[in-house]
Subunit: 356 residues, 2 copies
């Protein structure tokens, strides 16, 4: 993870749906980041991600005690955060199991009582915290459960939209699809291009302040929800869409396919980790080769965009020295004919060249 | 539609999940069929389907007046139906829009008051009928909204299950996937083979008395729900699984793919209508050729069952005379090498030969 001082989330305001509705989940921002009583850095990846990728949305941090790990933002109480403009207390902890610990309850209730909305990506819905719903209703603030949100239902139409779209796809889950999309959006913004990061998972939605948690959508509406996420736009605007799962996943391929069809990408970027042999957590299911993954994604994407093509392969090469990385890139580029890059080490310039 | 005197739904009792739970929707049966005040035969297709395919589940019919169209069952009041063993009043009407008319309200309330559960496939949930929830709770009967049901969540595992599986797939929606699966199950039962029809849509679930409305499942759990639908079984037992949608559909391909992966079919049967050129309701999206559809389904199905193959093509040839049908079948069989049949006209013998 690297620390950045600018947001990658900016872009021109989104055109609304034809019917005037916005079917995305939109979060009340900016945020006070809730770190709870967490001492494990790894449990704070949501908070670190927000600090690094969307610092302008983060007013400060709230720690239950001095023993809580700090992420380096200003410590603030609820009143001070409100005075500084915060709209929400955002739970920045992603612990295994996704339960909301009892020790947090009084703090969440105090925040709502003070007037902060609560944003949670935990498995436990916020309404399970005793009295919290009533307190939030009294203060007129909202409880936002990203995992449990459902959009207004609309099935896909397949109708082409104006503007351009890039979707990151992968050979597995957790292989760099969000990171790559964020890096591309950021670089495009810095280059003065019109680009908007479109979030499809909970961390991405917290970063962007809006999005569609695509794996929570009822299956009949997956491609429709993906269509809503990147609506009509000006013709030189790019939506950079965070991919999910992989078409080669025995559990999640349906989500990946609905997102692919609804996104109607002009370009895909494949995210791959050359060290991974099996789908994470699914022994016996092999990670496809980059070429297999590109071919299947392009072949299925043509249903809704016959002009789709692949703009390159994003690799995590953190285990390699410079020479080994160059050698890996050269061999993949020679064999496959697609640009290879590591968004952290080499940047995403090879993708941007193809967007001009 | 043809009239049959036997059920096709029988089969050995289903093995439960490893954790002992049944994640299917199970309906209280037998049924009294509610025909409301409907005068249009086409709006009664659910009722006719039940009468024809699952007559042993149908105790009688309930008409709001003599002007309601009859489907030829015994007219019965709620008390008489209960005395005859009925457990549910099943709404046999499928009208456009799926709203529950106000004129039905007192009849539904009376049925619940008398002690009948109510089964509905309408878009309006039954709880929207004033007082109905309270009345049902008092009488201890249930309100079952097939469209709004959610299973216990479980993601797919990709783990192979014992027993064999056949899935009907299609080149479009509404092209014979349910009918073909029912016809194959029925013929297998008559031939003394072990077969169970597995329903994935609301009419199929009403016929079978159980199933998973797969397009209502949250996308993350589609293949997991499909796995639950056809659990481990004895090795010579066949699950004949009702397909949904098509991989070539801009709105619903995700549902089709999740069902395909979770079903892990040993055999697919492709349902096709040679007269249809475009995906129904999606102008510009072409119906694939049978070979394209078979190839893509087999290619994607191999992820969870490397041995999958195609057992034939089910065609609706109702517009053709005998000579034209024979000619169509011969040309498809010569070109593609797959058995062609029309389940209504020629029966499904060509499929059964491949199951022995």
């Amino acid at each position: 993870m690297r620390s950045e001082s600018e947001s990658v989330i900016d872009g021109p305001p989104m055109t609304q749906q034809g019917d005037g509705s916005d079917r995305r989940l939109v979060l009340p921002e900016p945020y006070l980041l809730f770190l709870g009583d967490t001492c494990l850095v790894t449990d704070l990846k949501t908070a670190f991600g927000l600090r690094d990728w969307a610092p302008e949305k983060c007013i400060g941090q709230y720690r239950m005690s001095e023993h809580t790990t700090s992420i380096g933002l200003a410590d603030m109480g609820f009143g001070a955060a409100l005075a500084a403009g915060a709209k929400s207390l955002l739970i920045g902890v992603a612990s295994a199991g996704g339960a909301i610990p009892k020790s947090w309850w009084p703090h969440l209730c105090s925040a709502a009582h003070a007037g902060l909305s609560i944003i949670s990506g935990m498995h436990d819905p916020l309404r399970c915290v005793p009295n919290l719903s009533e307190i939030a209703a009294e203060s007129g603030c909202s409880l936002v459960d990203i995992r449990h949100w459902q959009p207004e239902h609309s099935v896909g139409t397949g109708i082409r939209r104006q503007g351009r779209r890039l979707l990151t796809v992968g050979t597995d889950c957790a292989i760099g699809k969000k990171y790559t999309a964020l890096a591309i959006s950021k670089a495009m913004g810095q280059a003065g291009m019109k680009a908007t990061f479109r979030a499809t998972g909970q961390t991405g939605i917290m970063l962007a302040g809006a999005g569609v948690p695509i794996d929570s959508v009822i299956s009949d509406f997956v491609s429709g929800a993906a269509e809503s996420l990147s609506p009509d736009n000006v013709s030189d605007h790019w939506d950079i869409i965070e991919g999910q799962g992989t078409l080669f996943h025995p559990a999640y391929a349906a989500v990946s396919l609905g997102l692919l069809h609804g996104s109607q990408p002009d370009l895909i970027v494949l995210c791959h980790d050359h060290r991974r042999k099996e789908i994470d957590g699914f022994p016996g299911f092999l990670v496809p080769t980059p070429l297999e993954a590109i071919d299947l994604n392009l072949s299925l994407a043509r249903l809704t965009n016959s002009q789709v093509r692949c703009a390159g392969i994003s690799l995590n090469t953190s285990g390699l020295d410079d020479e080994s990385r160059r050698s890996l890139f050269r061999s993949l580029e020679d064999d496959l004919g697609y640009a290879c890059f590591d968004p952290i080490v080499t940047g995403v310039g090879k993708v941007l060249e193809q967007l001009a």
